[in-house]
């Protein structure tokens, strides 16, 4: 890969950023003339759990999708674990757009968990988890198989290894999806409303898995409307409104003593 030859560290993050897993600088994104992200800068340290809240259409999901380049930002910088995402440094030392192949490579260290799971319906739970390691990382089938079984056991689905998604409950599907991301050994996990499409009685099992990951020190950014869960698991809560971060702080600060009127009005609706 071209990007690997010249490490972007020279012109990218400084030594102080060694413990930063995510750094975004002034990320902007418009869709058809409508500016959805109006310059978002956020830093997330290793092991930190950040929960993004805010009204729908405030840009939380778009921001999450810009981090792993599902949406290419119009401007701004995204660095994950010291590497550019969606861009690279060329031989002249200038930052340029990365090719789709290079982005695929960059994305491998970012896990993404979708609201609607997006499991591959024609693959068993095991095959869902194995695909990334085998095809993207070139891991041997046997090694990938034992890794996948290990990840499925970790999310409590050791008995569902050979089950197809159609035969799993929503909560089980989402846990397979989490195992699928974990199998790539990501530096950062992104969750886009991971429990919004679930029946109330299975939300708990997915939150338990996320909670376990947090206690293991996984760095995570979670878009969620589960305020109770955010209060419990988040190190930091970030409030989005109108394409910008309007307030950020510990759950206690943001939920109990919000400063911004927009945060107050949002919380009064969801709490």
């Amino acid at each position: 890969m071209i990007g690997d030859g010249a490490p972007p560290d020279s012109s990218g993050p400084s030594v102080d950023d060694a413990e930063l897993i995510l750094r975004t600088v002034d990320v902007r994104k418009s869709f058809g003339g409508q500016e959805v992200l109006k310059g978002v800068s956020l830093e997330v340290a290793r092991g930190e759990v950040v929960v993004l809240i805010g009204p729908s259409g405030s840009g939380k999901t778009t921001f999450l999708r810009c981090i792993n380049c599902f949406e290419r930002p119009d401007s701004g910088t995204v660095l994950v674990n010291g590497h550019y995402i969606g861009s690279k440094v060329n031989r002249q030392g200038r930052k340029v757009d990365a090719s789709t192949r290079e982005i695929a490579h960059q994305r491998a260290e970012i896990g993404f968990v979708f609201q609607h799971f997006n499991l591959f319906p024609n693959r068993t739970a095991l095959e869902n988890v194995m695909l990334g390691p085998v095809k993207a990382q070139g891991m041997g089938k046997e090694k990938a198989r034992s890794l996948a079984i290990e990840q499925l056991e970790k999310v409590g689905l050791g008995t569902k290894v050979d089950t197809y998604p159609a035969q799993l409950s929503g909560g089980q599907k989402q846990r397979v999806a989490i195992a699928r991301s974990l199998a790539m050994n990501p530096a950062l996990m992104l969750f886009d409303e991971p429990t919004s499409a679930l029946d109330p009685e299975v939300i708990g099992e997915v939150l338990t898995v996320i909670r376990d990951l947090a206690s293991e020190g996984m760095t995570m950014i979670i878009v969620s409307h589960e305020i109770g869960f955010a209060r419990e698991v988040a190190d930091r809560v970030v409030m989005f409104d109108d394409g910008q971060i309007v307030e950020a702080g510990t759950p206690r600060d943001v939920f109990d003593n919000p400063v911004q009127p927009r945060t107050k009005s949002f919380l009064s609706k969801v709490l």
Partner: protein
């Protein structure tokens, strides 16, 4: 008098031709089968390429794909056939010649037939495949990208296999039509079932009998294909973990026969 001659159905000739057809008839039947199968096989491969070109982000590639489909779908198969076999030879661009493949003689006209049918069918296949690819949820692309797959790998390992499920039913419909369309290959002298039948008809004057025999053999071919198609669909469903409440292959087939549209008997 007229009525009497019209009622002369030579049943012994009919049963003989139906139950122990001549070697030349069986040869024609075999050509019909392998020309259709080979043409369909190449049509799927070319069609996939054209479908991917039409979905490409590259404008020129999209244009070429669109032009290909426009021309091949917009002109009659019969005209294409004559252009490929006679037209190219007449202008000296390319002349098909009999060749021996693994010791089997393949007639020039048969080669031209396979090429033309494959090209013609590929235009239709590309549209079917394009629809199949579009039917795969965009979330599947993103899930595959999220585990580090390149766009090419996403297509190969995730999108194309899933599109198969949407592609097989209309593909089956097209293949059914193509097996019957091989009858027009007689115009360039391909000795397939229809041409052989015509020859038998003109040498025996048992026109009605022998064409009913031919019709029955075409029906056998399309019926075998619809069984194969049901089997493929069942296999795909199983590979998705979808079990149709213990419905057997035969039950599935009975359901298809009850619904004539699924057999291609009714054009929608």
């Amino acid at each position: 008098m007229m009525l009497a001659s019209a009622l002369q159905f030579d049943s012994s000739f009919f049963w003989h031709e139906l139950l122990s057809p001549s070697g030349s008839f069986l040869g024609g039947l075999w050509r019909t089968v392998y020309i259709s199968v080979l043409a369909q096989f190449f049509a799927v491969i070319i069609g996939l390429g054209v479908a991917l070109a039409r979905r490409s982000s590259h404008r020129t590639l999209r244009g070429i794909g669109g032009f290909y489909v426009w021309v091949l779908r917009g002109t009659p198969l019969l005209v294409q056939l004559v252009i490929v076999y006679d037209g190219l030879a007449a202008t000296g661009i390319y002349t098909f010649r009999d060749v021996s493949v693994f010791g089997v003689l393949v007639l020039a006209s048969v080669q031209a037939a396979i090429v033309t049918l494959a090209l013609n069918e590929s235009a239709y296949m590309s549209e079917i495949i394009r629809a199949g690819l579009a039917a795969v949820d965009v979330g599947q692309h993103e899930a595959a990208l999220s585990v580090g797959l390149t766009p090419t790998q996403v297509m190969r390992y995730v999108v194309v296999p899933q599109a198969m499920r949407f592609v097989i039913p209309p593909l089956g419909n097209d293949f059914n039509a193509m097996m019957k369309n091989t009858s027009i290959l007689s115009v360039i002298g391909v000795p397939e079932m229809f041409l052989i039948t015509q020859e038998i008809s003109s040498s025996t004057f048992h026109t009605f009998e022998i064409f009913v025999v031919a019709a029955l053999y075409y029906l056998v071919l399309t019926t075998i294909w619809s069984i194969v198609q049901s089997w493929i669909e069942l296999k795909i469903d199983r590979s998705w973990g979808i079990t149709r409440s213990r419905q057997s292959l035969w039950a599935g087939l009975r359901a298809r026969i009850k619904n004539p549209r699924s057999l291609g008997l009714v054009r929608s």
